[in-house]
Symmetry: C3
Subunit: 331 residues, 3 copies
Amino acid sequence: MSPKLDLDVLDRLHNCSILSAAQFDLPLMQELSKLAAYLQLRKFPAGHALDDKIMAAAFFEPSTRTRLSFESAMLHVGGKTLSVADAKTTGVAKGESMRDIGQMFNSYADVVVVRHTQQQALQQLTEYMRIPLINGGNGSDEHPTQALADWYALMKWRPELAFGTLPEQFRLTIGIIGTPGNMRTVKSFLTLALLFHKNINHITIFSEMADPLGAELRALTNASPITFDFSRNLKQSLEYLDVIYMNAIAFLGDGYRFFGDEFSLSSQSQLKTDTVILHPLARGEELGTCLDDTDHNLYFNQADGAVWLRQALLLAIFGRVRNIVPRELIK
Amino acid sequence: MSPKLDLDVLDRLHNCSILSAAQFDLPLMQELSKLAAYLQLRKFPAGHALDDKIMAAAFFEPSTRTRLSFESAMLHVGGKTLSVADAKTTGVAKGESMRDIGQMFNSYADVVVVRHTQQQALQQLTEYMRIPLINGGNGSDEHPTQALADWYALMKWRPELAFGTLPEQFRLTIGIIGTPGNMRTVKSFLTLALLFHKNINHITIFSEMADPLGAELRALTNASPITFDFSRNLKQSLEYLDVIYMNAIAFLGDGYRFFGDEFSLSSQSQLKTDTVILHPLARGEELGTCLDDTDHNLYFNQADGAVWLRQALLLAIFGRVRNIVPRELIK
Amino acid sequence: MSPKLDLDVLDRLHNCSILSAAQFDLPLMQELSKLAAYLQLRKFPAGHALDDKIMAAAFFEPSTRTRLSFESAMLHVGGKTLSVADAKTTGVAKGESMRDIGQMFNSYADVVVVRHTQQQALQQLTEYMRIPLINGGNGSDEHPTQALADWYALMKWRPELAFGTLPEQFRLTIGIIGTPGNMRTVKSFLTLALLFHKNINHITIFSEMADPLGAELRALTNASPITFDFSRNLKQSLEYLDVIYMNAIAFLGDGYRFFGDEFSLSSQSQLKTDTVILHPLARGEELGTCLDDTDHNLYFNQADGAVWLRQALLLAIFGRVRNIVPRELIK
């Protein structure tokens, strides 16, 4: 792994909208995570990098956690924020078209983060944007920056994942609890997982659904050298899982659904000693707080890192990385 | 038109509250629009002009659009913002007096933008303010900064409106769809229209009401050299209208009412080739999106410009114009 | 009184959470109020002191007034703000644990102000915080920064209170309207009052409750040299009260209760000419607006000062006082 940043790779994000995890490849993941790590380690000052930029956070579905994570990221690099914490109750007219909404953010901001209950809203919006748009979660479709943060946590935990080749016996087996076909965080996480196929042997998906992938993801997983299987028995599988990805929330229509006991983890769970757990919080009953003070807990690290990964992303989108990185860290 | 700014004119806004479009005269419109245009063209840096100032946005009636436009304006010139996106649900006690509310903003901010459902709320509030107050829309009364943005768009479209004298045959005929007597944006727009009487021949008001002006506005229009008439037949009038001002919203009590088909514009409408349409969005059915990609569309320009016009206004209110404008642009 | 600041005293707040008025002693009150006064008088620039710091305002119970006061304070000293105006409606999941919420703010901010309806929520939260937490009002328990602002107003009104010894005949008699045992502002105010025992002769508590203090406060008042009594007859006591502390709000369960006429003040009330009234607004019927323009009104001063006192507190918590105070003002 070169400690130097390849700005040509990061420049591919310049002025880009971020709609899907599928926009990222391994080099982008490498450079973004290196930049995020440098920011998190305060390797160089970045507090005024986006002084002249405004980010709008437009949450048509409320999410304090994601909104504050983005706003905190923007503030850390000197940017300013416009906040629509809950578009439903704060005045965007019912039935207002995505075009008019897009036009509004074009006029007011330099980048906009949008969360929406409807999958197609983001795609509609992007047609009218003159400024980059970041998908902050769209219905049951995608939540790409959450997945970037998930993998940033895993890359810090096991740097060889992105920057080397693990010996065969150390390649990872990952358990994903949830239904990638209709849960946005799980879908985006799985999409990025495919990029690390050199170091992942196997992925087991734990879901109650008959077809947890759906056609689109099944095509991708079929084409991957990673082997997949599906299970409803998490307990029996714990002995071989290196990474467990969990999620509290299943979108079924407009509602949420919590999984039952069989997909829960607690201090009773027979985890391998070096298994790590990821969870894009907030959590429900499925993840016992008794695990918080154990080495299995990578989820707090994940939430911490998300703010820095999002800073890296914003800096790349605005083409400002070269303004702050010292020359000796540039390839 | 002199490209130089007359700061004596802009200084008349120093420390002033902005309650009504009637506070503005033609020289103020000229200087504000020139300043806004310089800001929009980035003629000189203004990003730190209000670094030490705080603007509170107090929306007792929610309006994402107006709130974000003001907040974006303040952030563009370096100011900071306090945001009350929906005073009803975020803790201003029911029945709290305007005096106590005014006192609160005196303590916390350097300028306050207020939107309220009640016309008289702003007038009450202004009695107790030690800081400038900007009317962001008060019931069915006024929305002066919207009208400033409307006319800023028109002045960019046809600079002679403010800075010259059009030959008789080119003087404008304007159609206003709505009821100035009880629609705030329409009232403020019409009030400013009277300032441009040298270059406006005629205004037709399209309204279902028997008396769309009311006594106060009728006195003003009667005194104006502009001729007025009233109509319920928009289609027949399209052939002679140079500017059409539309608005989705009629305040009738606490509710909204959308106009019917007869007051709508779409690609079917027989507009003159050079007619421009203004609409202070959000829109309803009355303005077809098929017009968005035509030269008739001045409404997106209008929304864009609003952010810059509001910056000009804030800079004038804080007396900071001379701090940022280079000497060669000062009269 | 030395005009110089004793930074050793203020350093005791460095990185500290502020949960209770009981954390403060007289030297801290002296130094905080001197610092607040210097800030309010603009004795030295402080507008960039916290440029690199982020404050989250997390209001699980909405309060526009307290939230904006803290946000305004943070913005005045250059800090940035993350705002959760109403946690209930903007996406913090029901039943989300205090630990996960604390973790979230650890990741996103450098200090967090929390208001909550539940007394024990703050104590739970503080166990998990790696960043300082400021109690912005927790149920019926405490509102320590309100009390700091109350006493800052009194110290400006009568500096000898904190910095000298009043002759016996000028020592204060204070009337507190409310029930310290279950009203947070009153409890915090009374707790700080005990620090000024050298200059306070007597406190009368006006309450409808049989036991307005409760066991905890009774132990403290019994140990104080200040004499206490309890009354339900405010009118008869007005002739001897130098300071009257009022409060609109009694927390009874989750609701509010307004006191009746017997605990109200108006222009009819027979106040001594030099009596001052404190009220941590918003007010109800209990405090007539006719008193606003009299010398009895210390409550507007109190609201003004709160923003500056909170700036002093934030600067001390971040250990940044010595960065901004000129050497000649440091002891």
